[in-house]
Subunit: 202 residues, 2 copies
């Protein structure tokens, strides 16, 4: 059996990542979303085990210190810790499923250094558009919003490190792009069907 493909997806908040990812997952079999651990408290509507594994700081640090059996990557974002369980990811990949990690630029860098993921960055069409989207969402106060914007600028500056860049200008087009990238990667020369003749010269 072939191993699954590891996808890493990053986007500044307000980039539309969650919506895009949800639509693609609903449409594409064989792809699983790796649920991250976080020390951040759940937001309204978020569910433990579905959106995140919500854990205490103590438990998070415990997992983090357990090395190989601990986190594939971890990062601090806006004062909270986030991490991806190595065991969960390896189990899915080993059973032939593709895994998608929704992680920030720092976490992505750790995964890129230690594994060979397919990395995808979802960007807003411009900083101005991102600001306007965050203001419309209205979940942050002015100070938090400024922190997010500063962070988004830093993240955007790293988009060149990713294999693919999706500019989220029109939602349905961005959904189609992410879906296409996953299907295309599945056609990459990894899997040669059995029973093909050995290479011959012309």
């Amino acid at each position: 059996m072939n191993n699954g493909i590891l996808f890493v997806l990053s986007a500044p908040s307000g980039g539309g990542k969650s919506t895009i990812l949800k639509r693609v997952m609903a449409d594409l079999p064989g792809l699983v979303f790796s649920v991250s651990h976080t020390t951040r408290p759940p937001r309204p509507g978020e569910e433990d085990g579905r959106d995140y594994h919500f854990v205490s700081l103590h438990d998070f640090l415990d997992i983090r210190s357990s090395g190989e059996s601990g986190f594939l990557e971890w990062a601090e974002v806006h004062g909270n810790l986030y991490g991806t369980s190595r065991k969960e990811v390896e189990r899915h990949l080993g059973s032939g499923l593709d895994v998608i990690l929704d992680i920030d630029v720092q976490g992505a860098r750790q995964v890129q250094e230690n594994f060979s993921p397919v990395s995808i960055f979802i960007a807003p069409p411009s900083i101005e558009e991102l600001e306007s989207r965050l203001r419309k969402r209205g979940t942050e106060n002015e100070k938090d919003l400024e922190v997010r914007l500063e962070n988004a600028k830093k993240e955007l500056s790293c988009s060149g490190r990713y294999d693919y860049l999706i500019v989220n200008d029109e939602l349905q087009e961005a959904v189609d792009s992410l879906r296409s990238i996953i299907i295309a990667e599945r056609c990459r020369g990894r899997r040669t069907p059995a029973g093909y003749p050995a290479e011959q010269e012309f």
Copy 2:
């Protein structure tokens, strides 16, 4: 303006390539098909300038000997000569259009050696299935069919040289795969939107 992307598509006859390509082209703007030159006589329904530029052997050799302004690649297949006009391809790419070349394994190798195309191989699920498809088509006599099958085996043995492999098991799925590869390649890190901040360290 960005240059377009050069795609190279190969498949043994009976692989379903023409049908797949037609459907994808009908659906995807910004992609042009480069019409090859050939010394082979037109088949019923084929149109000069649309399916091929049908030329005499003399004219073909003339173009071939004109070097840089001649063919991007050329090959002999089943006793006929086929070639791709360099000028036509460069004109399209320069105007920002993506170009797709429908060429055989030998031609593809020439393009791969001299340019950096995105290469795609469309394969039948098995040799047996290919044979059954060629027999159903019924346009060849037994001897021609055997030549085509031998050639197909050689071509299949080269599928590992291509960036992508599409196994044409179910037509609509194969169409979706080719379309996805083109969309995905358009998201590859070639084009960074203007106005992004320069890379910063975290």
